[in-house]
Symmetry: C2
Subunit: 317 residues, 2 copies
Amino acid sequence: MWEKIWRFPEMCEEALSYSSGMQTFKPSGIVVAGMGGSAISGDILRDWLDPPFPFEVCRGYHLPSWVSQNCLVIAISYSGETEETLSCVREARKYGAKLAGVSSGGTLQEELRDCPFICVPPGLPSRAAFPYLFFSAVRILEEAGVLERREEIREALEVLRSVRERWAEETRKLAERLVERLPFIYTPPRFYSVGLRMKTQLNENSKIPAKVEAFPELCHNEIVGLRGTPPNVTFLLVRDRMEEERIRIRVEFLKRLLEGKEITEIWGEGKGLLARMLSVLYLGDFLSCHLAGLKGVDPTPVEEISELKKELQRHRH
Amino acid sequence: MWEKIWRFPEMCEEALSYSSGMQTFKPSGIVVAGMGGSAISGDILRDWLDPPFPFEVCRGYHLPSWVSQNCLVIAISYSGETEETLSCVREARKYGAKLAGVSSGGTLQEELRDCPFICVPPGLPSRAAFPYLFFSAVRILEEAGVLERREEIREALEVLRSVRERWAEETRKLAERLVERLPFIYTPPRFYSVGLRMKTQLNENSKIPAKVEAFPELCHNEIVGLRGTPPNVTFLLVRDRMEEERIRIRVEFLKRLLEGKEITEIWGEGKGLLARMLSVLYLGDFLSCHLAGLKGVDPTPVEEISELKKELQRHRH
């Protein structure tokens, strides 16, 4: 897993040259259909772009009812076999939506042979393919003509390359604070997706539970009773140098509230929002891998998910 | 708090007779702007209705960029003073969106004096006003002509009245399983909002942390490493008698995975989706109140939120 995470910036670069064959298309709304490590690309896109049309990530068997002929449904499944995503593809056809897809092959590629499609390199755990999946979705939107931010993307990739050695090193110390601990991840408004990726990487790579909440909503409920949090909880505060003043006041309040508790602040790097988001995400990837090492577990296999897949297969008609 | 929760069905009934003065309006999209106990009405509406137009709940200072003249923005703030929601109202005016609102008075009512508006009874903690806030939003949508489900609503209210005594009693035993425990709440796909309400009620009434995840997404990451969950975690599985077969297989798998852990299954009542959702929500309200009693804390005051509000006030220019 380590070597795959190390190659993150190069995978991004590689994906930026992909083509889906997408033609210009101005959607009235976009839905990214996917699950887990494939869906997260949609969330990151949404937090980053805040586009001038509805943009929803659909994690399940059924598309939202508002999908229509003017909508673009991007189906992302690294394996190409995710049954929820394949179900959404069938629904998208029924609704007459414009379809596009990303996978490393499999049934999804077959199902979408008449649609704009990007086939990414196979053989990775789907969560490690994030750079391929994310930038493939970016490419589809670029080709459709609804995303034009190459400068911001360039800066983000430079930042990823420049932080790599430092993150790989610094996250070792940070991981020590997570051993035998339950992480509560708190993020700025536009970083919820990044926190979610951090949570799922801790689940799958480090084999631990975690939870994520976002400002300012967490100030309306989550903060009550936190003073009495059990000692096995550790707090990861994702920060952003561009955070608004009213958010900063809440973060400082929370830090005082948690005085005496174990808190770690995590800051991204870079100017553009994408660089700030992806650098935190990248840090989380390294962190989850170090924690696996400290716990003596292999970050790659996800035994429980494999077992469940077999179980689901047995119940196929 | 107990007596307010007890009155839940009557509050629903009362709210169903409100009028906002809304005229027929076919929106291209709806955004509910609100925070915490006010926002949750939007999430419940969305999970329940799955409407044929985009429906987003906005928890923060900024509306999504897709809001336009054909959109309806429903601002909900029980106090009428929630600064994030007031900021969204200003943005909605800028975008030329159709505005409507719900509060117990305050600045929101003043700001929306030229708009469809429902003023609900004052003097409650905002989370206890959920029945008023939720059914006020229902009324606005009924008057706009985009919601017509009185039969389902009637059934839901009957169910709430019929479960009340039982829930009030049965949740005492359930609360005992939560003392000194950290609840992980897992929900069916359309019940995430109900799980979120349960989490925030446990935060605010019982003064404990909690987390919520939904099927089938949780099967793609969350389940990894759960066998090794610390002993202070307790699992609340929200079930639904209408759950799809593929979801049921996953729930049964999870139960086997968690063998030996403390699991409680929570089933709602009723035929329609709204009854099934609201009866689980109602159970969660009682549960959070019993847990407060067992812990010897007063469910009503939320000290940390009050402190933060003072802090934010000091930083007003």
